[in-house]
């Protein structure tokens, strides 16, 4: 890290110059200067749904957890059953506080017998590190911030694997697996994960080789995509975003993440999560579609009759469905698919209907 950087200056990824050369619209995001779009969100969105796109997600953080006590420690802090991850495996989990609030949601990769890598959300990286540091003291384990060691590229779309293996001569791991590889002649990790609902991988690579690899993938026809398309893609497949759907004020049960919570492991917050599961939450996170014109936005009130019954956590125009769509927390008795609601979009009531997950189902056969 550059020691001359002021504390409030936004950070730049190793690909900042590439984004500028491509004429990206750059915005501040979680303390970073990130590309929100290059040629247009709809085109980028469509490239990922029909062909292949790449996202610079180097702002995301990485934490390495290693040592004889790694499994026991991760079992304490993560909501899922970490013991189920085989070497080379991946797992989605919540990092909860004692009251079951979600500090972050993240992927854990098992790189070796007692060596794990956690990928954090950029906005939560420092908080996660402090939390892990606080709880690791009783375990024979080292917790290292390795965020500066990696650039991260998400290559996603039905043709991602074909294009990548041809362009970079790589063997790619299947979904939910991680593989050691060499990218640009440097050690790298290839993860069979993503945030778009499409097939593809996320590559953790040496920051120094990120620019030439980016250029090679551009030459191979991979479409550069910004955070704008990343958001519409994840929303169509109902992946939560921390800060929108998830926060320390929400537990995993109301967020629909009960499937990644295994209370029998006794993780921090498991008692609160078990109680929420047993009682049933007062509100639930639901996907919804606008029935006519109008685009819902974050924070819009959700109405039934003349009563506010919830709040939109993420709202957008869905490029695949060509209509307003989003996710909202609503009163649990109004959470069933098909329930008619109204979204108050800046004073105009827009009819909406609770949908089932996902809002858009990628056609995996297209590859």
């Amino acid at each position: 890290m550059n020691s001359l950087r002021g504390v409030s200056d936004p950070r730049r990824t190793p690909l900042y110059d590439q984004h500028q050369q491509l004429g990206a619209k750059i915005v501040p995001f979680a303390g970073w200067e990130m590309p929100v779009t290059y040629e247009g969100i709809k085109e980028e969105h469509s490239a990922v749904r029909t062909h292949v796109g790449m996202f610079d997600v180097s702002h995301m953080g990485e934490v390495e957890v290693e040592g004889p006590g790694a499994l026991a420690f991760l079992q304490l802090v993560l909501s899922n059953d970490v013991a189920k991850i085989e070497i080379g495996g991946a797992q989605y989990s919540c990092l909860c506080n004692e009251s079951g609030g979600v500090i972050d949601d993240l992927f854990v990769y098992r790189l070796g017998g007692d060596r794990y890598l956690i990928v954090t959300n950029a906005s939560n990286h420092d908080t996660d590190l402090a939390w892990l540091g606080r709880w690791c003291r009783d375990f024979d384990v080292s917790v290292r911030d390795v965020a500066d060691r990696y650039a991260m590229l998400a290559v996603q779309g039905p043709h991602a694997r074909t294009v990548l293996s041809r362009a970079l001569k790589l063997e790619l791991p299947p979904r939910m697996r991680v593989a050691h590889a060499r990218v640009g002649r440097r050690p790298a990790l290839i993860c069979g994960t993503g945030y778009t609902g499409e097939d593809g991988v996320e590559i953790l690579l040496d920051p120094e080789v990120a620019p030439p690899i980016w250029a090679e993938l551009l030459d191979a026809g991979v479409v550069p995509c910004g955070l704008g398309a990343r958001d519409t893609l994840r929303l169509e497949v109902c992946f939560p975003l921390h800060g929108n759907e998830l926060s320390t004020e929400r537990n995993p049960i109301e967020a629909g993440l009960g499937w990644c919570c295994v209370e029998s492991t006794g993780f921090l917050g498991s008692a609160a999560v078990a109680a929420a599961r047993a009682e049933g939450p007062a509100e639930r996170l639901v996907p919804f579609l606008i029935e006519g014109p109008g685009i819902p936005r974050d924070g819009n009130p959700v109405m039934a009759a003349d009563e506010q019954v919830g709040t939109v956590s993420s709202g957008t125009f869905s490029p695949s469905l060509e209509r307003g769509a989003g996710m909202a927390y609503v009163r649990a008795d109004l959470a069933d698919p098909g329930t008619e609601l109204e979204i108050d979009v800046r004073g105009k009531r827009r009819p909406a209907r609770v949908a089932s997950k996902p809002l858009y189902r990628p056609d995996r056969k297209a590859s």
Partner: protein
């Protein structure tokens, strides 16, 4: 359209709206090339109703891109006599042809002399440069 463009026959409002005067007391309104470029691909135009009264400098409609909502400001006061219905199915015309097929409303002006307070193309370009 990819190149910026500000026709000489229009009057401009500093909130990036244009007016094309027609006859003594009618005008067509829309948003400028700069406005559509800043907003990105327009995916929704929420027009006012025909017959609605609009006031100079006040919002009379909204245009939305995937990520953002923008109020459309009336460059002059009047009554809406027509809205561009074609934009309901093809709001992207606002990006492709902001001064032609991407027009937003036709207005019967209640104070045609307001045109004198608007910018000409050269003045508007200067505003954008600053």
């Amino acid at each position: 359209m990819s190149e910026d463009n500000y026709p000489d026959d229009l009057r401009y409002h500093d909130q990036h709206d244009w007016a094309r005067l027609e006859g003594d007391d009618h005008a067509v309104f829309g948003i400028t090339w700069y406005a559509q470029d800043s907003l990105g691909e327009v995916v929704f135009y929420d027009p006012p109703e025909v017959g609605a009264t609009i006031d100079k400098d006040a919002s009379y409609a909204e245009v939305e891109s995937v990520k953002a909502v923008s109020d459309v400001i009336a460059p002059m006061s009047g009554e809406i006599v027509a809205v561009n219905d074609a934009l309901e199915d093809a709001p992207e015309k606002i990006n492709g042809d902001p001064y032609g097929e991407g027009w937003l409303v036709k207005v019967r002006l209640t104070a045609p002399r307001e045109a004198e307070g608007l910018l000409d193309a050269g003045e508007y370009r200067k505003l954008l440069e600053n």
